[in-house]
């Protein structure tokens, strides 16, 4: 949330929106150890077969960087492009474009413009780009952006929440052996609170109901249980 306030993206009067959600999650996610950051990102992506095992050390991140597009003719934005997050790891660059809800809000043209601009600015760096569309999707299937064969990896906020909970549970189990896990668990709990105020909760689903002891046909015996006086 801090970055959203610093970059004037969060209006306390107008309330919780896409930028406050992005900030609530990623402000804190990048405080975790490098391997946990990538474990969460990669496993939140349902179709993750094309993602690397690790991306190296976290180096830096920028929230809503403004990339100058005045000299670029191939993009539709005439002045600048502003991806939600630009992250540099030791071996990869990552762009994150996030949307508020887990429903169709992502924009194919936005992806293309960001990738083209990235290539223009960072094309000569010897690092590949990984692009995440977070939220705003229905299909979780990875798709080709159509620009330089760059893939669009997709993450739903609900899936991110599920992985954060699982990670938190694993870290909690090992707290006696690794007391430092307490700090990581606190960070993850802060992220979960951020997701919760934006409407993403640890939902329980019907398929987790266990079959109880009453057999279905027994239900018809209710009238037999009632003794007629």
């Amino acid at each position: 949330m801090l970055n959203a306030i610093l970059e004037n993206k969060f209006n306390l009067v107008k309330g919780l929106k896409e930028d406050s959600l992005t900030s609530s999650v990623f402000d804190y996610l990048f405080m975790l150890p490098d391997n946990i950051i990538w474990h969460i990102m990669k496993n939140s992506c349902v179709d993750n077969k094309n993602l690397p095992e690790n991306v190296g050390e976290f180096i830096d991140c920028s929230f809503w960087p403004k990339w100058d597009t005045k000299s670029l003719k191939l993009v539709t934005n005439s002045r600048f492009i502003e991806p939600d997050l630009f992250v540099e790891f030791e071996n990869y660059f990552v762009i994150i474009e996030s949307k508020r809800y887990d429903k169709d809000q992502q924009d194919v043209n936005q992806w293309k413009n960001q990738i083209k601009t990235f290539s223009h600015i960072y094309g000569e760096e010897n690092k590949e780009l990984i692009y995440f569309a977070v939220g705003g999707i229905w299909s979780s299937k990875t798709e080709n952006s159509g620009i330089e064969d760059k893939l669009i990896h997709k993450i739903k906020w609900q899936n991110l929440l599920d992985i954060i909970i699982k990670t938190k549970n694993r870290l909690t189990k090992n707290i006696d052996i690794l007391p430092v896990n307490r700090s990581y668990v606190r960070i993850l709990e802060t992220i979960l609170k951020g997701l919760e105020i934006h409407g993403y909760n640890n939902f329980l689903w019907l398929n987790s109901l266990k079959r109880n002891q009453i057999e279905m046909k027994e239900g018809n015996k209710i009238k037999e249980w009632i003794t007629k006086i």
Binding site: Y101, K103, D104, D107, F203, L204, L206, K217, T227
Partner: protein, 203 residues
Amino acid sequence: MDNKDLDKVLGDVRIAYRLLYEYQKRVLDLVSYLGNNLGFSYEQGCPRFSSTVPRKGKRVLSRWSWDWLNMYFYEFHFGTQEKNNDKITMSVIIQSDTGYYDGKTSNSQEDRLNLDNFKPVELSNSRIIFIFELNGNWTIDDSFLKKDISNNVREWISESKEFYGVAYNLSEFYNNVAIDEKVEELNILIKKKLNITLIEREL
């Protein structure tokens, strides 16, 4: 029945209550998830099989036992969304048991008090019903729900064609992946029936 049998029955009652607690917890999560993903905000709810759970007041002990079991057939009402020049309003109804509706032979209210009138459990169903209203003021009343709501009927449309309802088996909404698929199916259906796109792809 002797005391031992009664103890067993009361054990079943405890199981039933705890099962209902777990079931209802999940139903509330399901309805909340649907609202979030369809872009509707929850406003209020009401039982559609009986009266609401009694609060303070007199004569509560003479009311139906069903009044304490509201989620037997319960409407979760969401607000209105504007879609271009149209307004669409939604309710999600949980029909935990179609047994009464499948078995009833009359519209007598007292039939609800006699389980003999209910279809056997294994032949009944649990359903979720979506009701949409196009460009109205949401005056859905019992007349719409007094139509046949048995398991045989899956779709309703009002004479004025401003209300449209569709039912699914609740078991099809078993986790978030399955729910997403059903919602996509619903999106296509509402587009066909009401010419409204609930979930829009921005181009």
